[in-house]
Every structure is written in C-alpha cells, then in structure tokens.
Amino acid sequence: MTWFLSLLACAGLFAFSSVSVGAAAEHDTAAPTVHTDASTATTNTPEGTSDHHEAAPPSLGQQFLYSYLTAYMFCLSIVMGCFFLVLIHHMFDAAWSVPIRRVTEQVACLIPVLGLLALPLLIFAPSVFPWMNIDPATDHALNVKKAWFNRPVWTVILALIFSLWTFMAFRFRSWSIAQDKDGAAIWTRKARVQAAWGIFVFAFTLTAVCFSLMKSLQYQFFSTMYGVYYFAGSVWTTLITMYVVTLWLSQPGRPLEKVIFYRQKHDLAVLFFGFTVFYAYIHFSQYFLIWNAAMPEETFWYVDRERGSWKWVGMLILFGHFIVPFVILLNQDIKHNLAVMLPIAVWAWLMHYVDMTFNVMPVLYPRGLHLTLLDPLCWFGMVVFLGGVFWKNYLKAAPYPLKDPRLLEAITHHEIPAASQPAAHR
C-alpha cells in the first residue's frame, strides 16, 4: 500500500515537474541562466565580487531540478553505502555482518531504479549544469576539462557506470540467493573475487559519479578529495540507517528476530562512530588544504559557501555532523540506548541532507540558504519510492543468507554458551 502511494506521489511529482521544466528549457535557450552568470562571475573574480549581480529567482523547473538533485544525491548515498557494505563484507570475509547482508544486497539492487530516476537530470541537464551552456573556447577552466565535461561523454560515462554497478549488485544478490538453496562455498568464493576487483571499481566510479552530478555544478573547482568526502558522508548515513533498519527487522515477529543480537547493533554503531570521525577528517582536510594553499581556483568554492547564511549552514555541518554526534557517541553504552540512538539517526539523516544542500544549492542561491516546499517533497517522494521498491524486493527472497557458512559464527561467536551456566542464571 505504501509502495503504491509512493508511486503515485512520484508520478505526481514527475507530472508537475515536466510542465515547469518545459518552461525552464525555453528560458534556457532564450537567455543564459542565472547560475551560469554567477559561476562565470566567480571564474573571473574568484574572491567573490559576484554580489553585484541582481540574481533573479530561479524558475520553478530549475528549482525542482535542484531539489531533485539534492534528494537524488542523498538517496544515492545510502544505496551506494549499502553496496559498499556488501563489498567489504566479502573482502574481509566478515562474520558479524552475515545476518544483515541480505538487507544491504537488496538496497544495493536499487541501483537500476536510481539509474531511471537519473533520467530527468540527464534529459534536462543544461538546466542543471551551467557548463553545458558555455562554449569551451571562451572558458579556459572548461576547456581543459572538456574531454569529460561535454554532454555526450558525460552522459555515456554515467550510463556505463550505472550499468556496471547494476551488473555487480545483481551478481552479488543472485549468488547469495543461490547459496540459500545449496549452502555451497563456491558462491562465497565468487562474491569474494568480485569484491576484490569491485572495491577499486567502486572507488573510481563513485568518485566519477559525484564529480559528474554534484561537483561539476561548479566545474571550475579542483579537489581530488571530493569523491572520498561524498563517500565518507554516504557510509556514515548508511550505517545509522542500517542500525535502525536492523533494529526494526529484529523486533519480535519480524524476519530477523532470531539472527540479530547485541553484536550486530554494537558493530554498526561503532562503525558509525568511526565514520563520524572519518567524515570530519576528510572534510577538514579538504577545507584545510584549500585554505592553506589559498589558490583562487580552489578557494572560490568555499568563499561561495561562506557568503550570507551559507556560513551558518557550514557551521551547522561542523557542529551537527561532527562535534555533537562525536561527543555523544564517545560513551560505549550509549550505542545501545535507543532513546539516544533513534534521535541521532533522525539527526544524521537531516545532517546528510544539509550536507548535500551545502554542496548543491549555493549554485542556485549564492546569497544564502533558501528552502522551498519542493525540497522536502522531492526528498520524501524519492525516499518513500525507493523504500517501497526495496521492501517489495526484500519480501521476495529469504530475509537473511540462510546457509551462509559464517552464519552460525555470526550469531553465536560472542554469546555466552548456555550450557556453561546453571539454569537458574540464564
């Protein structure tokens, strides 16, 4: 039912968008867009004198596409984060994550759905990505990157990457489901081989996708760390999402009741804590290196994000994405205190959305944070839609890898053997 409603909601959003986007496309051909102006101005004067531009409000279509892109990058984070959890599970021959692996496999199999959801961005790309409206001959920064940043190559690269991801994610899932029947070790072996080369593919392709879809909004920017930065935030959000999903699925009467123990929740929470620090480390490093080197072709990106209320959004990320969760999660026992962890989960989702907004929206609103109703609508529509597809797929197969060779170890290893205790005590 939820699934049907979400489909309706998305269909409604698409119908709504196609009207306004049509208008936006016309607007684009008629005159250069607002943000194109803003970004060329930034190229010429990277120290940020583009304030004199009287920025006209963006059209509804453009607003939708930007809200859509922000929501899209948020959802891509969680899907690719789960894909990453499958990869490292196999790479490290992990035992603890066996009971939650089917969930991550099924989320990773949302990649083709995300590929379809990317179509509006690909079709109306010139309304989103300013560089598509600029002649590389007139812009040095674009000229040196035109091998990648031209519409055909850019589109083909994205299509190839999504196809490759789909291929890998589906293979992981089909091997895992095949093992449910016969319990043969060959399926684990196949997955491990794919994970070994897959982790390299993952690193390069995820970087390429977030360069294409998010970083290229300001094509003049340089940061080799940007891919890792997106990755760190993605896995951070994924881990707390998995914590909540695992918790929910392990309640009495739900599919994972008998296989999820203290240990899985503890490990997910500890990894989440680790990625809180890792994200801060990466984002600080990117900022610090750019600040220290003080080269205009890099600093402008942060100068743009210290203008107006964007400065406070940045502060919110510093304190809300790192310092507050870090200090709270220092305590070991709190990782099992649901009265703390559930609010943190909601907070982490909000912070990741803020982080995506911080990356995308300053292009459209250089003067400061500007929220519209389309932001939560796009976010909600996409999350509910993908959640619905996930749930439908999840119910089709076994809820966890039934015959994984490491399942027994995962659910018993650190538990007290009942036989060694007098009945009165346990």
Partner: protein, 179 residues
Amino acid sequence: MNMEMTARPHSLLAEFQTPADVMAAAIQCRDAGFSKWDVYSPFPIHGMDQAMGVKKSQVGWFTFTGGFIGFFSGMTMIWWMNQYNYPLVVGGKPLFTPLYAFPVSYEMTILLSAFGTLFGLALLCGLPRFYNPLFRNKRFKKATDDTFFICIEAADPKFAQARTLLEKTAAKNVELVED
C-alpha cells in the same frame, strides 16, 4: 623460629579442569558477593566478564581526560607561541586560528589519550607490582597451560565462607596459599 607460625593466609586457590566448570563456579562466587577474587585461565573465555560480574572498565575516563588536556594544551601552546610570544605572519595567514593549530592539537589529543589509557590501566590494575604469593604455588603454573583457577583472597570480608563454597563447586582441588 618457626616459619609456619608466622605465615598468614593469602588466599584460597581452587583448580578446575574445563572452562565450563570454572564459569559455573565464577557465577556462584559472583552471587555469593565476594569482592576480592579473580579467575585465571590460559585463554580468554567469552562471557566470563558477565559470569564474574565485572563492571565496565573505567579506563575510558583516563583516555578522555588525557585527550581533553592534549587538545587544549596543543591549542594553547600554538596560540602562545604564534600570537603572543613570537608573532610572525606566515603566508598572509592570521597569527592564530584554530584551523592551522588543529593538526598539532589533534596529534596531542592522540598522544595524551594514549598516555591516559596506558597509565590509567596500570593504575587501575595496581601496577607496577613485583610480587604475588601465587607465583610460589606449583599448581598455579598450570594456569598458563591447561588448568583454570579461582582465587579468593583472605582480605575479602566474606573469606570465612570461601572454602565451603569452593568445595561445593566442580573444583578438583582447593588449597590455602600462604603469604
């Protein structure tokens, strides 16, 4: 002069053959409310912490205190040197900002956290300690091989009940260790 007359009891040492036996006995000791006692095993036994009723380690507080002091002393040190004691403009940057002081403060945090952990652990374990009467006990040498022990110290307020309790468990041998 008789050494036997001056020797004071140090503890009661009970010997077990399997991890399951020693775990069951540990649960009984825990429930009887002993406070100065320990279990010795050649390898870690999962669940023994709960069986013994060992509370969460307090070492984390030493780590936290060390890290806290490290971070702020790093910041203060750099502020004092660059802004106050010897102001020098480098690369057009401000004399002091937490930004460039961060990497060093971060290292100081890690260093003093590690010191806090190491010395806090030693302090809580009562280390350094050069001698323990158990070292003289011949049977106890097997604690590093294939035997498990429970040792209840004479300093425990409930020591009088110790022998009765240990003899009721699966212990193969219960003996008095003298100081």
